[in-house]
Symmetry: C2
Subunit: 192 residues, 2 copies
């Protein structure tokens, strides 16, 4: 038996909604709900106040840049594509340009949006936007005072290999690097 | 000036730690911290009690299966690879087998782990493990009562195209599908 469900209608019903935590980055909401099956349940969800932004910088020689930092929620060090946050409602591209300059010290003439994704949709509404940045020139960087960043310039092919072999485990970075690989092969983005 | 930072030492210091929310799936922790720069700050983080599991089923004809469901935190419908959760400490492979059978009604003889990633590492510690499942046979499905799932069988190439063109926006699904594409091209997984 095939049941066709609506793809537009929300099958969950919220009976009671309570904000249980709030800071500058997230709001956590606890709800008593009626599930799609009609049973009583609860749903705890995390609402993000910023977009996540990822950037794959790509120079004319085929190099990219990775950023290393300690990710406190994981208690682990992580090598990633340059990433940052942009406030909901503000220009995503401006935030991406700012992050690439502040973290890596790069300006880019050409920006191409290559991916929009939701990072953890069972619990969180975090939305990530990923760009390729080309036509690069170097400038001063000025990382956020709360960050201790390491920067590594390397061939894009090596970064893609790290995404394939598990050395890079950050979801946004894996998506950015593999999408760039496929788009280059398809001729949808070009080396400039 | 290049500063080399330790990749093993945690540069954040927790001054005070408080659990502000807890349910069967997540614990939210608020901490007063000293940042890597030595300044006072706060950190709100979300700790997950389950792994996220993603599965790319692949039959000998080159077909895969997608699952459609309404994702309540996003207030959006989402087409994805079969996904589920496995309790930390329990067998991930057993949980993957259970999810594929319950959600899609498929048994698989051959399981290959293709990715480990962290979905949203600035705030969450959610870890995802992604498999390719091959040697498939059909059985009964028995979806969780809280889920209203639609199942779609389609060529893997079409699912990959959906991951590239933005029709699939779930991070675990994009990673799973693009990794399978590259691994097939590299001959590291084979059609069986």
């Amino acid at each position: 038996m095939i049941t066709e469900y609506s793809e537009t209608e929300n099958p969950w019903e919220s009976v009671q909604r309570q904000e249980v935590y709030d800071n500058n980055w997230i709001t956590v909401v606890h709800e008593d709900v009626i599930t799609p099956a009609g049973t009583a349940g609860i749903y705890g969800s995390v609402h993000f106040k910023h977009y996540a932004i990822g950037i794959v910088p790509l120079d004319e020689a085929g190099n990219t840049w990775l950023v290393g930092q300690y990710r406190y929620p994981l208690k682990k060090y992580s090598w990633e594509i340059p990433e940052g946050g942009g406030k909901l409602g503000a220009s995503i591209l401006d935030a991406a340009k700012r992050e690439l300059q502040e973290e890596v010290g790069l300006l880019a003439e050409q920006w191409t949006e290559i991916a929009v994704c939701y990072t953890s949709n069972a619990v969180c509404d975090e939305k990530a936007i990923i760009f390729v940045a080309q036509g690069l020139s170097e400038t001063e960087n000025a990382p956020d005072e709360t960050e201790q960043l390491q920067i590594k310039k390397l061939p894009l092919s090596e970064a893609i290999a790290m995404a394939m072999n598990g050395e890079i485990q950050d979801a946004i970075s894996i998506i950015g690097l593999l999408k760039v690989k496929v788009l280059l092969e398809q001729g949808k983005i070009c080396r400039i």
